[in-house]
């Protein structure tokens, strides 16, 4: 059961039950939809951009505890960040959930998001953890079509 607790950490469970920034942003000027056809998880990420900076961010949708908590904590960690900083953070997050070794102290930079490191022991769940981030990326790029994990 130790491994299971690595995946379902308190903070993750808490965010899955009470997701932050769980709302449609009326003021958004970018949005994207993400979909995991394997499990049916579906999220919309809303961005209010000012120039290159994320002024506000919200999300809505349905999915498992991992995908929902990941979306929730992603929104918390991105307010005020630039597009470039957001992408860099996703890159580090992606490496951590995939269990890829990093050389430049990525884990330290992740802040609270480090609770998702347990996902690396559950390869089937990596897509759950990254769905919101892929959706964010699409919103940042202004893509029109829904992104899919497949």
């Amino acid at each position: 059961m130790a491994e299971l607790r690595d995946l379902y950490q308190e903070l993750i469970l808490e965010h899955s039950k009470a997701p932050r920034n769980y709302r449609e942003l009326k003021s958004s000027n970018r949005k994207a939809e993400g979909y995991n056809p394997l499990c049916g998880d579906r999220f919309t990420v809303y961005l209010q951009m000012q120039g290159d900076s994320i002024q506000d961010i919200g999300f809505q949708g349905s999915g498992c505890a991992i995908s929902k908590a990941s979306a929730s904590m992603m929104t918390q960690s991105l307010k005020g960040k630039s597009k470039r900083e957001a992408k860099a953070l996703f890159d580090r997050f992606h490496k951590v959930v995939k269990g890829e070794k990093s050389t430049n102290g990525d884990q330290a930079d992740l802040g609270k998001l480090v609770v998702f490191s347990g996902v690396s022991e559950f390869p089937a769940r990596v897509k759950c953890a990254t769905l919101a981030w892929h959706t964010l990326e699409a919103a940042l790029e202004g893509k029109q079509e829904a992104v899919s994990t497949e």
Partner: protein, 429 residues
């Protein structure tokens, strides 16, 4: 009357006696994979609707085929080719009797139930379904019994009609009949319906469905992928026109499936794929097709798969399909009762007649999380939409957790499942 209730009536003894005579420990010993451990626990395999495990007899039959009998069929005069042909045609006869088909030539080997349905859609369908015609399916179909018909309807500018289901997951027969339309000149040119729903476990009242369709001279294809492992099948009693099932779901190998078709229909249908074996003579000017079933078996078939499928059916015959059905019926009742009794757990699909499948949702917990936690306990279930997204939509959910039973499952394994679900609730408490 549905086909599912036939087994207790035709059986020689009351169900409880049949069940007590079914030696599940002996059955389990026949399946090597059941001995393995997963995440430190004894494997509890409850994903049989996705694919079933294989008994030693099936694994041995495939090895035996390659070690002793392998050669290409229907074309050599040498000893091994004749032997391989004999094995392949014997497998066909074994399938014929498994379905109680009138003739062996009504059995076509394909890759899977999916391919069987595509075959009918692309041959019978393309001949008989035209602009403004209709194809009728039900709201509980697997994607494999939806998409082939969508492709056909798109090509022919025909309409796909869908008969609705009730809140407990049963086909609403009255609605089905009105969608069939007028007794004369119905627009519906073919009905395609699952025998047992993979997402809900519902057993459809095939005899009634088929009688209603036949009253309008509409042929019926039955997708039997989820029925073949669980209930005795008699295509003559059902009077269905086509019946499809997959080998890997009846404890046989992957890569082989069966299409049964009434001889008259098969003979009138154009070929599906072209190639060797499906012809009797070829010139650049004109090709004469082989007779059925070979007309529909272009190219070298899955010969080892046929040997494995034959072994699987013989294994089921030795146990007796009626006994298997009675044992599983008892196990499913036990599982339904135990799982439904857990607070915060809701069963999806509560039809009166069910086989093999227990779909459920846990309040406040996504099925994916249920699946991961059970997996850590060594319990394999399926989570998601089960290739039946319209069914999920019908019940207003994204996904379910699905435990699906096989003949080797036990009440102890159901208890392990219940324990696992309780663990899920603890983690998410």
């Amino acid at each position: 009357m549905s086909t599912a209730v036939r087994f207790p009536k035709t059986a020689q003894a009351p169900i409880h006696e049949i069940v007590s005579r079914f030696d599940v420990d002996k059955v389990r010993a026949d399946f090597p994979i059941l001995q393995r451990r997963v995440h430190g626990h004894q494997l509890v395999y409850l994903d049989n609707a996705a694919t079933s495990q294989k008994p030693r007899a099936v694994i041995d039959a495939i090895v035996q085929y390659y070690e002793n009998d392998n050669a290409n069929i229907h074309r050599g005069i040498h000893y091994l080719s004749e032997r391989a042909t004999h094995e392949f045609e014997t497998a066909r006869k074994v399938v014929q009797s498994f379905l109680n088909a009138q003739r062996a030539s009504e059995i076509i080997f394909v890759r899977s139930a999916t391919e069987a349905i595509n075959l009918v859609a692309q041959t019978y369908g393309r001949v008989h379904v035209g602009a403004d015609d209709e194809v009728l399916i039900t709201a509980m179909e697997h994607h494999s019994n939806i998409v082939p018909w969508q492709l056909l309807c798109e090509e022919r500018q025909a309409k796909l009609r869908v008969a609705p289901i009730s809140d407990n997951g049963e086909l609403i027969l009255g609605e089905f009949e009105s969608l069939l339309g007028a007794k004369v000149q119905s627009k519906v040119k073919i009905v395609s319906v699952g025998h047992v729903s993979n997402a809900l476990g519902t057993v459809n009242p095939l005899r009634q469905i088929i009688a209603m369709a036949h009253a309008r001279k509409i042929p019926v294809l039955v997708d039997g992928a989820q029925a073949a492992p669980h209930v005795p099948i008699d295509v003559q009693h059902l009077d269905c026109d086509f019946y499809a099932f997959s080998g890997h779901k009846v404890y046989g190998p992957t890569g082989i499936g069966v299409l049964y078709g009434k001889a008259g229909l098969l003979e009138a249908m154009p070929p599906y794929q072209g190639g060797g074996d499906m012809i009797s003579s070829v010139t650049f000017e004109k090709t004469i097709y082989n007779k059925v079933p070979h007309k529909f078996e272009a190219g070298t078939p899955d010969m080892s798969g046929a040997a494995g499928l034959r072994a699987a059916i013989e294994y089921l015959n030795d146990l007796g399909m009626a006994k298997i059905a009675a044992y599983e019926h008892d196990l499913l009742s036990y599982a339904s009762e135990k799982v439904a009794a857990i607070p915060g757990v809701r069963l999806i699909g509560t039809a009166k007649e069910k086989a093999g499948v227990l779909s459920f949702v846990v309040d406040g917990v996504h099925p994916h999380d249920v699946g991961t936690i059970l997996d850590q306990e060594g319990i394999a279930i399926r989570t998601g939409h089960h290739c039946a997204q319209p069914v999920m939509e019908r019940f207003g959910i994204d996904a379910t957790a699905r435990a699906s039973l096989g003949l080797y499952n036990t009440k102890e394994e159901i208890d392990a499942l219940v324990h696992g679900i309780q663990k899920v609730k603890e983690v998410f408490a």
